[in-house]
């Protein structure tokens, strides 16, 4: 501990964003059984329960079958749950005083958010892959290009919910934030036409549904299969909600860093 030790000290690159932290954080998330069931098992089980009966398998949609259509919706649902829980991790970490502890390291707050978003998108990807794997062995049929395109869209568009999770994570101080967000996501999924097609709703409800955040993601993810619906409206929906949730998350995040 001599004075020249000062010169050897330096700050990490990228504000502390690094692979080692992402690995440790992923391992921690996978240790939480509730998260695993919620994000990986549940969407697949829903798909098996509601999507795989004989009539769905024999009725065709686009170049595939209704089972495939439902699979894409469930993959979107899974990706949504996964990215929301990834973002909402900040709530638990703030409650535990962990965010404060991290302020005693070189990790920059922006790098912390980037790590959280990366984790959210990684588990979102795993969730989509698990759903598609289960679907492929239980009768879901999609054209080859749709497997890839639908999967990618379901995953990429789930970024909306990573932002949503972050926003809620900063907004809600609760330790079990996902117990609140789980039902909220279920309602939003229903309202956005993920569990039942919008044309089974009344006209008024169907119109309102188009303004809810899940609608756009679902429409976009299924587009490569059905080539139907208003693509631009769906894109506008996704972009608007992503912007809204991001602004909300940034607002709360700024307040949070100013306060501590």
């Amino acid at each position: 501990m001599t004075t020249f030790a000062f010169e050897q000290r330096s700050l990490p690159r990228f504000g502390g964003y690094n692979l080692g932290m992402i690995k440790l954080e992923l391992r921690r998330m996978m240790r939480n059984r509730r998260t695993v069931i919620f994000t990986l098992v549940m969407p697949a089980v829903f798909f098996l329960l509601f999507g795989t009966n004989a009539s769905n398998r024999h009725e065709s949609v686009g170049g595939g079958n209704v089972t495939g259509y439902i699979l894409v919706s469930m993959a979107v649902y899974g990706a949504m749950l996964a990215t929301t829980s990834g973002g909402a991790m900040v709530s638990i970490e703030r409650a535990a005083g962990w965010s404060r502890q991290l302020r005693l390291t070189p990790l920059k707050p922006v790098a912390y958010i980037a790590v959280k978003l990366t984790i959210a998108m990684i588990i979102g990807l795993v969730s989509v892959l698990v759903a598609f794997l289960v679907g492929s062995v239980s009768g879901a049929k999609l054209p080859a290009h749709a497997w890839i395109e639908c999967g990618l869209l379901a995953w990429v568009c789930a970024l909306v919910f990573a932002a949503f999770g972050l926003f809620m994570g900063y907004l809600l101080p609760s330790e079990n934030v996902m117990q609140i967000l789980g039902p909220v996501l279920a309602v939003l999924s229903f309202a956005g036409g993920l569990f039942a097609p919008l044309d089974t709703f009344g006209h008024t409800f169907a119109t309102i549904a188009k303004f809810t955040p899940v609608y756009g993601v679902g429409e976009l993810a299924r587009y490569p299969l059905v080539h139907d619906g208003n693509l631009w409206l769906a894109v506008l929906n996704v972009v608007t909600w992503t912007a809204l949730f991001s602004v909300g998350a940034m607002w709360r995040f700024r307040r949070d860093t100013a306060r501590v």
């Binding site: 990490p12 502390g16 690094n18 921690r28 939480n32 535990a96 005083g97 502890q101 005693l104 070189p106």
Partner: protein, 314 residues
């Protein structure tokens, strides 16, 4: 009342101080948590910030770590802004509570800290070893006792090999054995020359482990000196007498008086040689009704740090 047992500590200091607080004030709305603290700490000192709950110790610590910004005054740590010093690993801290995630193992928690500070994996084992928790590395944090969690925080704080280690009420909630083990670990570590500042409301801890004690009360420093000096201050006796019209500064100039206080017609003179103080009062002044009482360190602490019951609207 301000007792300054040793002013030479800062006077003989020419090197860059480890910590320099200059007229620091911190207000939270109408509440003033820190009310004008100026303090310099030299490299290598082990300093206790001693005071009752709510004295402003934790707020001071937060400002040293860049977790809070002073409303007025300036805080520098090794000549830098606190947060910069923290990011470089010059300063680290063991905080009072929280700051751990239950579903990490002990080893993973330290590993993450190592990753963030850009230290290699060998430093992880070393920190665990030095904090005395190498045997529970695989245990989940949620399954650790309070003492073990505190030693984990200590291991995390050791990781950047800081020049200055700050401990905020480090032994709160530990049993006697845990406290002893924890301080043994800190003491071994401080022997290597690290600067240590710890906040505590345990008088024994300040006495046993600090070589300088800073008493804090209601956001102000009320006494500052080496543990031995403060102890000798408190080890003296007090002469109480009735002396109308007395002036504190005059009383302080009496040989043997370390501190004097006037409350109405009553004067309180504190010093080691109370016999000669009494002799002086009775022969050279109009003082009467003399009474000589002794107080121990515990009482001195209470006198110095206790909040007056009459004024404390928070």
């Amino acid at each position: 009342m301000t007792l300054t047992a040793s002013s030479d500590i800062t006077a003989r200091d020419t090197a860059e101080p480890a910590v320099d607080l200059d007229g620091v004030v911190k207000r939270f709305g109408a509440v003033t948590a820190v009310d004008g603290i100026s303090l310099r700490i030299r490299p290598g000192e082990v300093v206790a910030l001693l005071g009752p709950n709510g004295a402003g110790k934790t707020t001071t610590v937060d400002m040293l770590l860049g977790l809070a910004q002073p409303t007025e005054g300036s805080v520098t740590v090794y000549g830098r802004k606190p947060h910069d010093a923290v990011a470089l690993g010059l300063v680290s801290a063991v905080m009072q509570t929280g700051g751990l995630l239950k579903d990490y193992t002990v080893e993973e928690t330290v590993k993450l800290t190592a990753v963030l500070f850009g230290k290699d994996q060998s430093s992880v084992g070393e920190a665990l070893e030095r904090a005395g928790i190498a045997d529970i590395g695989k245990r989940l944090v949620g399954k650790c006792s309070g003492g073990q969690q505190q030693r984990l925080r200590f291991a995390m704080a050791l990781l950047p090999d800081p020049e200055l280690l700050i401990l905020d009420e480090p032994t709160t909630g530990m049993d006697v054995g845990g406290r002893h083990d924890f301080w043994q670990a800190i003491r071994r570590d401080a022997a290597g020359g690290r600067t240590v500042i710890f906040a505590t409301h345990y008088l024994e801890e300040a006495d046993a482990y600090a070589d300088r004690v800073v008493f804090v009360r209601r956001g102000q420093i009320v006494a500052d000196g080496t543990a031995a000096e403060v102890k000798s201050l408190a080890a003296g006796r007090t002469v109480r007498a009735t002396l109308p019209g007395a002036v504190e500064t005059h009383l302080r100039s009496i040989a043997g008086v370390d501190n004097a206080e006037v409350r109405g017609d009553t004067v309180y003179l504190h010093g080691r040689d109370t016999d000669s103080i009494a002799r002086f009062l009775l022969t050279e002044t109009a003082a009467r009704d003399l009474e000589i009482t002794s107080r121990n360190l515990e009482e001195a602490f209470l006198t110095l740090t206790a909040d007056d019951a009459t004024e404390a609207p928070k």
